[in-house]
């Protein structure tokens, strides 16, 4: 272990590797910042430029882009309610509200701190126990995945508190939209109305840009120009109290993110939603959620970074991609003539440990970069909205076009922008819709697979203790609060009768 670490530091600390690590994380931050352009596209586009490099240098840079993007995605979520990355959608809920109260600096800083802590914790686990964790992860089959996806949906539907029905409605709408396109396993085209562009389904990134960026701009136009936020420098800087308040949230977020990140396919978006949903239930400050609670930023941002790092566990120790971006990275391995697989740790120790140590360095760089920059970015909100909104509109549309080089994407943004605005006007939550759209294909796949495993009988879920436990948890989450309320009422009733007598 110590030998491996020393080897890793020797590899990662060469001037060349340090330089490209720095370049990677900065480029990653910018890519994460731009709506539409995600880390998967970023890594795929920059891949050919790295052929001239040593494999380890190239991978250090490309991985830097990946986790750098997780930091960058937060910035626009907080400032202008436009998530740069799918995993940052849920951050808009409280991050944007914090920004409206002049606390954008604190939100960005806690996101950076949470991301950093989560990254370091998950890296330590990654280095210490990656292979056994990977073995554990493959035990999660279709049945267990189905249970986890259900849990994800239930948590998000119920995190709206009293607005359970509204959350459920929007999640159902998201799931419904997710059925457009070619179905898993059968290859049938559904609800495409002959449009080729819809065969691949309703594209998630464009929907997010429309709902959030365009929807918010339309909403603000109707509400009337708000005064630019004039916050003093004190409010822009994070206070010690903010940090200490957020520590439990960061730790919980890291744990949830790490666990979901190991599972191939679940990914950091689900992790961030689940972390937020759980935080909203257990946090001491839960009443403030949705109104600018710092915990509501700390927890999902920690979760998405932990998940991004945990994604490397199946990737490096089994050669199985943990998510879309790690799939591109695995493709890169082959192009450099490396053989990803269970023996990678043994056959390429310098590469693997150099890469892992570079994650430490990259995350330190990102923290040092993002902390002082947080108040600077927050100053952007001093720009009057009359100037800010055209810029948001322009970057949104360019971002959408960049995803697929296709004008169809722009139409999706426009249509969902209008939908997002209407939903906002009638006070329906957008986040469950987004998660429904993200989870839809995954849930459907798990359902089809579970049915196939059980030869058409979904009762096969009862053969997995793990799935049963998770499903019971789902039921408790749905019915628990109303049962508790009923119990409380009963215990209060005699008191009320008593007071009536008096």
């Amino acid at each position: 272990m110590i030998d491996n670490l020393i080897l890793g530091f020797q590899t990662a600390l060469t001037p060349e590797n340090l330089l490209w690590c720095l370049v990677g994380v900065v480029v990653g931050t910018v890519i994460g910042l731009l709506p539409g352009l995600g880390s998967t596209t970023g890594v795929a586009v920059l891949l050919p430029l790295t052929f001239a490099f040593e494999p380890v240098t190239a991978l250090i840079m490309l991985a830097g882009i990946y986790y750098g993007a997780q930091y960058g995605g937060t910035i626009t979520s907080v400032l202008i309610a436009t998530p740069g990355e799918a995993a940052s959608v849920v951050t808009t809920l409280d991050g944007y509200q914090m920004a409206r109260k002049g606390r954008a600096g604190a939100a960005l800083a806690i996101a950076a701190i949470g991301s950093f802590v989560a990254a370091i914790l998950s890296l330590v686990l990654l280095m210490a126990v990656a292979p056994p964790l990977a073995q554990l992860a493959v035990q999660f089959g279709p049945v267990e995945n189905l249970a986890i996806m259900t849990l994800g949906l239930v948590i998000v539907v119920t995190f709206q508190g009293g607005k359970l029905v509204r959350g459920a409605m929007m999640a159902a709408l998201g799931l419904l939209l997710a059925t457009v396109g070619v179905s898993t396993g059968f290859g049938e085209a559904r609800f495409t109305f002959g449009a080729v562009e819809l065969l691949g389904g309703i594209p998630f990134v464009e929907v997010t840009i429309g709902l959030f960026a365009l929807g918010e701009v339309l909403h603000q136009i109707r509400v009337g120009a708000a005064a630019p936020i004039r916050a003093g420098f004190r409010d822009m800087v994070i206070s010690r109290r903010d940090v200490s308040k957020s520590i439990p949230s960061i730790l919980r977020g890291s744990g949830i993110g790490f666990m979901l990140g190991i599972l191939p396919g679940a990914g950091s978006t689900l992790a961030s939603f689940m972390a937020y949903g759980i935080e909203r239930r257990v946090s001491r400050n839960r009443d403030q959620f949705g109104r600018g609670a710092i915990e509501g930023v700390a927890s999902p941002e920690s979760a998405n970074n932990a998940a991004a790092n945990a994604n490397f566990i199946p990737t490096l120790s089994l050669g199985i991609p943990g998510g879309a971006t790690t799939a591109v990275l695995l493709g890169a391995f082959t192009m450099y003539g490396l053989q990803p697989g269970p023996l990678l740790f043994e056959t390429q120790p310098a590469l693997v440990w150099g890469l892992l140590v570079s994650f430490f360095i990259g995350n330190v760089v990102l923290l040092l970069l993002n902390l002082p920059l947080a108040p600077v970015f927050a100053q952007m909100l001093r720009v009057p909205y009359g100037y800010l909104y055209p810029i948001i509109l322009l970057t949104s549309i360019i971002g959408a076009y960049a995803v697929s080089n296709n004008t169809f994407s722009i139409w999706i943004v426009v249509v969902f922008g209008i939908i997002g605005w209407i939903l906002k006007e009638i006070d329906l939550p957008l986040a469950p819709l987004v998660l429904g759209l993200v989870l839809g294909p995954l849930l459907e796949k798990a359902l089809v697979q579970t049915s196939a495993v059980g030869d058409g009988n979904l009762g096969v879920v009862f053969t997995s203790p793990m799935a049963v436990v998770v499903l019971i948890l789902c039921m408790l989450l749905c019915t628990g609060p109303s049962i508790l309320r009923a119990l409380r009422k009963r215990s209060q009733d005699p008191v009320r009768e008593h007071s009536q007598v008096e």
Partner: protein, 320 residues
């Protein structure tokens, strides 16, 4: 050194052609073919998959031999339908290519798409990617014949990716040849299937060698047979018997190549075929074939068309 002079020569010719085209563009000879300086390689699948790897290898190979700038563009969705349909809409474009594979043939047979496998201009077939029948190290199966015997008596679960992919076709061919039936669980990528085998969620799965060579080396997965005509020459795979050796008469390959849109000029077709031939002679081609453990089978133009017709007949027979 040789490839560099080659590169320069072609570059110079291309530059001259562009100049000429520029001069004459005011005239009526706009129909005349001018070698492009930039080209796009459409990959109809997501970044990171087998198609993506092949598209990128061809793109950088063509850059090397022609001096063009070839940009790779992933247009994924609908199991390839989105990318191929996009190419259909680019009829006559002489600066666009598409990294093609089995979906070119199987999608029009299985799905309601607007293109047919002869809607395009086939340029080059790179080679064949055969499948191995894989199982977990702890499995009781030792050969493909064992699997078939078991399937006659009980439920044997295999993983397949997509309803028209190479795994589905391979499994269907075994079923037809041996008169058995397998239960199928659908997955979306080779990586997911490897995880399913390791976790014991499926009994067997057909996978390409490049997807499993890591697990073969470590001994976590075992190859039962190869659906090839002859045994592999690659050292890591030479010991794997063919299906035919075990009495199962099935050999089928996923081809990989690239195509241009339909309706391009004869000159343009010739230009791309010449570039493809130069690419096939380069080290990059050999590297691509070997690192992905494919069987080289470089055919161009009309020969590739004939190959596609054969493949279509095979797929039609397999999918019924």
């Amino acid at each position: 050194m040789k490839s560099r002079t080659n590169h320069l020569a072609i570059g110079a010719v291309a530059a001259a052609a562009v100049l000429l085209a520029g001069c004459s563009s005011t005239g009526s000879s706009a129909e005349e073919f001018a070698a492009p300086t930039r080209a796009t390689m459409i990959v109809p699948f997501a970044a990171g998959g087998g198609s993506d790897v092949s598209g990128r290898a061809v793109a950088s190979g063509l850059e090397g031999v022609t001096g063009l700038t070839v940009t790779v563009e992933n247009r994924e969705g609908g199991a390839g339908a989105v990318g191929y349909s996009a190419l259909l809409g680019m009829e006559g474009r002489e600066d666009v290519l598409l990294a093609s594979e089995l979906a070119l043939v199987s999608l029009p047979l299985a799905q309601d798409v607007s293109f047919r496998s002869d809607s395009f201009t086939p340029i080059m077939n790179l080679g064949g990617d055969y499948a191995l029948l894989m199982t977990a190290a702890s499995s009781e199966f030792e050969t493909c014949a064992d699997v078939v015997t078991a399937a006659k008596a009980e439920r044997v679960v295999t993983a397949v990716t997509g309803a028209t992919g190479i795994d589905e076709i391979t499994v269907s061919l075994i079923e037809q040849d041996q008169d058995v039936e397998f239960a199928r669980v659908p997955y979306e990528s080779g990586g997911e299937v490897v995880a399913a085998l390791l976790g014991g969620h499926v009994d067997v799965a057909p996978l390409n060698p490049s997807e499993v060579v890591g697990q073969l080396e470590s001994g976590d997965l075992r190859a039962l047979c190869a659906f090839t005509e002859e045994r592999y020459a690659y050292e890591e795979l030479a010991a794997i018997p063919t299906a035919a050796e075990q009495g199962i008469d099935v050999a089928f390959a996923q081809f990989r190549g690239f195509i241009a849109p339909g309706g391009i000029s004869e000159d343009a077709r010739k230009y791309w075929i010449e570039a493809a031939e130069a690419f096939a002679d380069s080290e990059q081609y050999t590297d691509y074939i070997e690192s992905n453990m494919m069987q080289p089978n470089a055919v161009y133009g009309d020969e590739f068309v004939a190959f596609l017709d054969e493949t279509r007949a095979d797929v039609e027979a397999a999918l019924g």
